[in-house]
Symmetry: C2
Subunit: 203 residues, 2 copies
DNA sequence: GTTCAAACGGACCTAGGGTCCGGATTCTAT
DNA sequence: ATAGAATCCGGACCCTAGGTCCGTTTGAAC
């Protein structure tokens, strides 16, 4: 599992070059499928061996790109101010989290697609999914009207899956703001199910 | 696009043999990925050429299997009695439809996985998805408290995606009935969202 | 400057989807 | 029954793309 840092400057430089090249290639092409590892290597001016040594395999490269993009949002979620940060009341934070996920996928359509769906193994085994899920589940747990926080978290996240987002944005040509509003409505509906259990709350 | 019927009995026999063999193989193996076309051909006692002539490509084979399994449910939905049939009131039919989808995917885990996720192209382009979606959307349209029936239909269907079901059943070991209950709860919550738009209804 | 571990890079390997075509099988007309 | 045409069979073959190997080069430490 090659993933450790190297101190040699050529290694570092090449790693950056590959990341940049891959980023550009995925952005440029319609489908992630037609960006091959050889393409990436060539675009980065590097041999395939170098590429694979640095990232292990295709999924490793995708993951590296993905994590890089995700970092700011992770920060905002873990230690940032409301509405994403941990001090936000649950009923408000859940929609904010899902909105953040949606926006992220809209901003990184191709990349998210490549990582989540392109891979041969289930996206549910990815650690970043696991992180989102457990966070969302924990927040949902705080909302009394929500039963089955585990399943609910899965179901809500499913509404933001990369290929669905891609379909809505690409095929159905739904504009960004509209999609955000729809998701927001949906989340609200799920959370608002209180009445069923008897507590209609304030407002 | 070879998909026309043949009248020659050897062709028909072989087609059946392939279908049966593929069915057995997909059921037997953990992941659809490790059932190759060559495996199917061998198991059916047939050459690869025969296999590809009959079904066009891998997706074609999967589709043929899938459609076969789906047929009964399609019948039940289109012309059957409640709670699946068209005479059912919307608020009751929506959960029934999603429950049917869930059960189908539970009963055909590997196959659904192979077709929906294994393929290189988006599952949202598949015609069977389109069918479920437009039906669900139409039914949701009849429920006044539901806004954005199109998106809602997508989001609800996303909760029954093959790889999620597989994850829940396989990894999290959630028993069938529990999963059905969870999905049912979730759907109910989404449909019950009336109160939010200002009309707190009766209760 | 010498040394050696580490990185380089591209030839090479492999798996699996898909194609091809000479030969076998089936249908039809007589 | 049989010739002939149409269709089908099957497995050798091709191609792509991910991943590996290893002789060569580079960089850093002394």
């Amino acid at each position: 599992m090659p993933e450790r840092q190297s101190s040699r400057k050529d290694a570092i430089r090449n790693r950056e070059a590959v990341l940049a090249a891959a980023d550009a290639l995925f952005a440029r092409h319609e489908s992630p499928e037609d960006v091959t590892m050889a393409d990436v290597a060539a675009a980065a001016g590097v041999g395939k061996g170098t590429l694979f040594r640095a990232f292990g395999d295709r999924a490793g490269l995708l993951r590296a790109l993905y994590e890089g993009r995700l970092e700011p949002i992770r920060q905002a979620v873990e230690t940032g101010p409301p509405p994403l940060g941990p001090t936000t009341p649950p009923r408000e934070r859940v929609p904010a989290l899902l909105d953040a996920v949606l926006c992220f996928k809209l901003d990184n359509r191709r990349l998210a697609l490549a990582l989540e769906e392109g891979g041969s193994s289930s996206p549910y085994r990815a650690e970043h999914y696991e992180r989102w899920h457990s966070l969302l589940q924990a927040v949902l747990e705080e909302i009394p009207s929500v039963t089955d926080s585990g399943f609910t978290a899965h179901a809500l996240l499913a509404a933001t899956r990369a290929d669905l987002v891609e379909h809505l944005a690409g095929e159905e040509r739904i504009p960004r703001e509209r999609m955000r509003a729809q998701l927001s409505n949906f989340v609200t509906a799920v959370l608002a199910s209180g009445p069923l259990q008897g507590l209609t709350a304030e407002e």
